[in-house]
């Protein structure tokens, strides 16, 4: 199959934002936290308040790229009885009610266990856009490359400040939809400032031919969104949204999303103090 001709739901969502003269906002929530219904409600709230793409995480027993806030939420989801197949209910629940592109963020073993082809088939059937894979590098992705082509799914690999030029090129070439630029050497979690490394990683990805690069890790405020929107096609917020859901439920997610979205366009006004 010709990759260039394949429609990418993520690329389309980012391009719609671009047509409006702004970067895209991507919001992360873990599936099943605190339960499946609330994840769907919070996902819809994300889409209705300014998120262009939604990243639904699969709670996993060994989340090595996650900091304490997300770990605590996913551990709770698992304790509440979350099962991997329910992620498809979450994806379908959101895509049936919104236009947002919905990706699944997952560590690789749950996909291996279900079967890469079977997982991909069910994700496509639920209306999902593709997968973000924090512990799968293109070098190990032969099966996923085939399945994502077969079912028309985006494959979002990560690039990092430590990626060499060679690896950057390989990862950009293997990705579809967008490339996920890790802003700092570390795990998920809100940080007071976004490191200057993020800008360099995005520039390197652009130089390698990536048309859409989105920045994640450590982004939690509209001010940080604004800073990143100046050089990246998309901004990813996770921990801050999970904390909002934890502390104030779906309403708090809606309010934070609205606030974050004010940072998207370079010409937008100054940030509010939290809506």
């Amino acid at each position: 199959m010709n990759h260039a001709e394949m429609t990418s739901k993520s690329a389309a969502a980012i391009d719609r934002a671009r047509a409006q003269g702004r970067s895209a906002l991507i919001g992360y929530l873990p599936a099943g936290y605190p339960n499946v219904e609330d994840t769907i409600a919070a996902g819809i709230a994300l889409a209705e308040n300014g998120a262009d793409l939604i990243e639904i995480g699969i709670p996993y027993s060994d989340p090595v790229m996650d900091g304490q806030v997300i770990q605590a939420a996913t551990t709770e989801a698992l304790a509440n009885g979350f099962h991997v197949k329910q992620v498809f209910d979450v994806v379908a629940g959101i895509t049936s009610k919104t236009d947002a592109a919905v990706l699944v963020m997952t560590y690789w073993n749950p996909v291996v266990r279900m079967g890469v082809d079977e997982f991909s088939r069910r994700l496509a059937e639920a209306g999902g856009a593709g997968l973000i894979t924090p512990d799968l590098i293109p070098d190990e992705a032969t099966e996923w490359m085939a399945a994502s082509d077969k079912y028309g799914l985006d494959r979002v690999f990560l690039v990092a400040p430590s990626s060499t030029a060679e690896r950057m090129q390989r990862t950009v070439d293997a990705s579809r939809g967008f490339v996920y630029a890790v802003s700092i050497m570390g795990v998920t979690g809100a940080r007071t400032s976004v490191s200057t490394a993020a800008k360099d990683v995005v520039a390197a990805a652009h130089d390698a031919g990536a048309e859409r690069v989105c920045v994640g890790l450590g982004v939690s405020t509209a001010g940080q969104v604004r800073e990143i929107a100046e050089y990246a096609e998309g901004v990813i917020v996770g921990t801050a949204l999970v904390a909002a859901l934890r502390d104030g439920g779906v309403d708090a997610v809606a309010a934070l999303t609205k606030d974050l979205s004010t940072g998207l366009a370079p010409e937008a006004g100054h940030t509010t103090d939290g809506a």
Partner: protein
């Protein structure tokens, strides 16, 4: 529920190698379909740097001389090969020889790996070492190497293990290390590895992750094995010197599998030598409370490698159980998964009860208190010896089994005393002497 991983289907592969190939040549990243690098991109550059440094070092006479010097003058190598004559009577009357890794400095095989990796860390210009530990053995070994080489050392350890193993925490602190209790996830060894990986991602520029077993992402499985191959090399030379022939069988215990892969490698290319790995069967594999990863797990990816894995239907890692903290890990090194699939090594579970009986037997027949980990290998050797004797009683007394006695059992005295009900109910030791606890 088992996938019947051992032997059969791919036996022709094993035959093919025995007819000319070499299983000792296994540089990674893959061992059959196992191994690889299932890791965040952020760490790939560090793994590349480590691989390059390791490959250069093992071909560098100066590095090899450094390792040889440390092995001889710091660890006390070569470790002895001791015939266990009275113990042998309980193993079908075959001759059992013990490879005495328990006599190494710090009391186990662990020192081989930590010295090698610490030297590599220095070569890479890293000033800080991080490590994971279950009961504390690898943490103590890492702290030892860091002290010897003047490096900072941080050890991640499950919060519950820290409480139960207070003396091992004190040991590490005496050696200058910082111990960080891990409170995430199930708060066990696998979560300590997770937290060490999180630390490594954030501090990779000055930090080396000194992984304690032959698992994880490439180059760890091949590299950790390399530093432990001295066990098998010595054992093979010693038995040839002492007895003029190769053993009939080699036995070792398997958690992640570093001591086992070290001794196995000496004999992998000797077709006449049968090789056995003994996993922790815990309360019995039928109870679900065990750590028999190869016997009952399914292939998956965890901590950077594709290998057999104890997991549920969703691919979530399940908790392992064993009286031996050193075997209490739900994964296993990828090379073992491969050696099982091709039928070169047989992997079998040993229950807590069988291990403790062998533990007591070695104490009373040989005057050697083994680590409970190593007692699993001893229990397995008893079974193998009895099988050899049953096959051909007339030649039993000529058969030779080598057991890797991977560590000494001083650390396990409280656990053993509790198991055998040797403690006064009012003693302080009785208070803390619960499953997996050590003094």
């Amino acid at each position: 529920m088992a996938d019947a991983p051992s032997g059969n289907a791919e036996n022709n592969t094993a035959e093919a190698f025995l007819q000319g190939g070499s299983l000792r040549h296994a540089p990674g990243p893959y061992f059959g379909s196992y191994g690889g690098r299932w890791m965040p991109e952020s760490l790939i550059a560090a793994l590349d740097e480590l691989e390059e440094t390791f490959n250069k070092a093992k071909d560098d006479p100066e590095f090899r001389a450094q390792i040889a010097d440390l092995n001889k003058n710091y660890s006390g190598r070569p470790s002895l090969l001791t015939e266990a004559k009275r113990f042998s009577q309980h193993a079908g009357g075959v001759r059992v020889f013990l490879k005495r890794e328990d006599l190494n400095h710090t009391g186990s095989h662990k020192i081989n790996n930590v010295l090698g990796q610490a030297l590599l860390a220095k070569r890479m210009g890293k000033t800080r070492i991080i490590a994971e530990t279950g009961a504390g053995q690898h943490g103590v070994a890492s702290a030892t190497a860091a002290a010897l080489m003047g490096m900072e050392c941080v050890v991640y350890m499950g919060a519950e293990d820290c409480r139960r193993q207070a003396l091992n925490v004190a040991r590490m602190e005496l050696l200058g290390a910082t111990v960080i209790p891990v409170t995430s996830g199930s708060q066990t060894l696998k979560d300590a590895i997770n937290d060490a990986l999180r630390d490594w991602v954030a501090n990779v520029s000055n930090t080396h992750y000194l992984l304690g077993t032959a698992a994880g992402a490439h180059p760890f499985p091949a590299m950790v094995r390399y530093f432990h191959e001295v066990i098998g090399d010595e054992a093979r030379a010693q038995i040839l010197e002492q007895e003029g022939r190769l053993p009939d069988a080699v036995c070792a215990c398997i958690g992640g599998g570093s001591n086992a892969i070290g001794i196995f490698h000496g004999f992998l290319d000797d077709p006449s030598v049968k090789i056995y790995g003994f996993e922790a069967g815990g309360d019995g594999v039928e109870t679900g409370r065990h750590a028999a990863t190869i016997s009952l797990g399914k292939p998956g990816v965890l901590h950077g490698a594709r290998s057999y894995l104890m997991q549920d239907d969703d691919g979530q890692t399940v908790e392992s159980h064993s009286i031996s903290a050193g075997l209490d890990y739900p994964g296993v090194g990828p090379e073992h998964s491969y050696l099982s699939d091709i039928g070169r090594v047989s992997y079998e579970p040993i229950t807590d009860t069988e291990a403790m009986e062998a533990f007591r037997l070695l104490c009373r027949t040989e005057g050697i208190i083994p680590a409970i980990e190593s007692a699993h290998a001893l229990a397995g050797a008893i079974k193998v010896g009895q099988r050899l004797a049953a096959e051909d009683p007339a030649t039993a007394a000529e058969k030779i089994i080598i057991v890797n006695l991977s560590g000494r059992g001083d650390k396990d005295v409280a656990t053993a005393a509790e198991w055998f009900d040797l403690l006064d109910k009012n003693s302080a030791e009785s208070e803390i002497g619960k499953e997996g606890e050590q003094l």
